[in-house]
């Protein structure tokens, strides 16, 4: 069972978030219509792992790029214009493009992995959160725990509180 509290104002929302965080609720998500640096701070999100994907992608791309150009040149040796078969300068251009291509693709992959999207099941959500409301969601809290969470949220000045059954 999940508890959702909607807030009209950022401060209340953040206050609630901090309170919950400090009182040991680990499974909370903070929904907001715009990115909020503070909210991310509350959850202690620092550097994202996405950047590792990007780096890996770029490196793999560079290798793949040169391998493609040089390798295919060797598969079928066709001399042109008296140039070397493995002609470094033009192959660097291919390398360059492939670096970027793979970099981008891996970053995309990274995004999906880290943000664990696409979501395969619906999760507690209020459309208002994508318009002009801030929503705190506490999941996996039951019984007396839930009551405490609800108290904290209400105390922080939530407009409404929703209870939703999580589909297990």
């Amino acid at each position: 069972m999940a508890i959702m509290g909607t807030f009209a104002f950022e401060e209340d929302f953040l206050a609630a978030a901090e309170k919950l965080q400090s009182s040991g609720f680990d499974n909370i998500s903070l929904l907001s219509p715009v990115p909020l640096a503070e909210a991310q701070k509350v959850l202690g999100l620092g550097k994202s792992a996405v950047r590792r994907f990007s780096l890996a992608g770029a490196i793999i791309g560079a290798l793949a790029g040169f391998a493609l150009a040089a390798g295919t040149a060797l598969v079928f040796v066709l001399p042109t214009s008296g140039r070397a078969i493995i002609t470094i300068p033009p192959f660097l251009i291919i390398t360059y493009e492939m670096t970027i291509l793979f970099g981008v693709l891996f970053t995309l992959l990274g995004f999906h992995v880290v943000s664990d999207l696409p979501a395969w099941r619906d999760r507690p959500y209020l459309p208002a959160a994508n318009i002009d409301r801030f929503v705190v969601v506490v999941e996996g809290a039951a019984g007396e725990q839930a009551a405490r969470a609800e108290a904290i949220i209400r105390q922080a000045g939530a407009e409404e509180i929703h209870h939703v059954e999580e589909d297990q």
Binding site: L74, P79, G82, T87
Partner: protein, 257 residues
Amino acid sequence: MKWGNDLSTFVEKFRQYLKPGYYDEFDYHWTMTIDLDRCTGCEACVVACQAENNLPIVGEKRYAQNREIKWIRIERYWEGEYPDVKMGFIPMLCQHCDAAPCEIACPVFATYHNQDGLNTQIYNRCIGTRTCAVYCPYEVRYFNWFTYTWDEPLEQQLNPDVTVREKGVMEKCTFCIQRIRLAKDNAKDDDRRRVRDGEVVPACVQSCPTEAMAFGDSNDPEAKVSKMMKNPRGYTVLEELNTTPSIVYLKKAHAES
């Protein structure tokens, strides 16, 4: 894969492939010399080429649009004004450059340098980007803007040793590669390693009524071309571009006195 599985050979090959240039390794280096002092601009070579290589009859309309296809053409240049006016002819055909500007241009390897030192054009491979023609400083590449047809029964003349090109394909002088292939086969048949000098000549050279053109393998120092190339009148067109053409022209001599 060409290099097999052996790593060392691979590395060795790899090193070798890093060096530019290849001409010294050619089996043959087919070369043509054209003596402008003999050339009279009679255009016999032009028709010879048309007959040998199935060049289309494009018709008046296409000609007016500069869509003609003539693998070898005669360029004319006037010098001076009347009455001291002179005319200079120069046959212009694919120069089969060792450092051909056209070859790097092709994205699909439709044109490349083969082991006879020929600048080849593979019609089946061509996708018609026309880049090679733009890059060619001698403007000797011709494009099939249409699929040309022959008025029946003219098609019966078509040379079965040469393909008929379809629309969207680039074409150019091949040094009559079909003749070269035949000569090499014959050489193989009677267990000679190499084609004899003068055993094969392109249609244009064959027909030239003034014997202005010579053709042969310049790797062979005894060949006629090798001797002609040493002529002090020898030069290559647009030398400053460093395309190292396989066609050496012999400048028109001037009457003493």
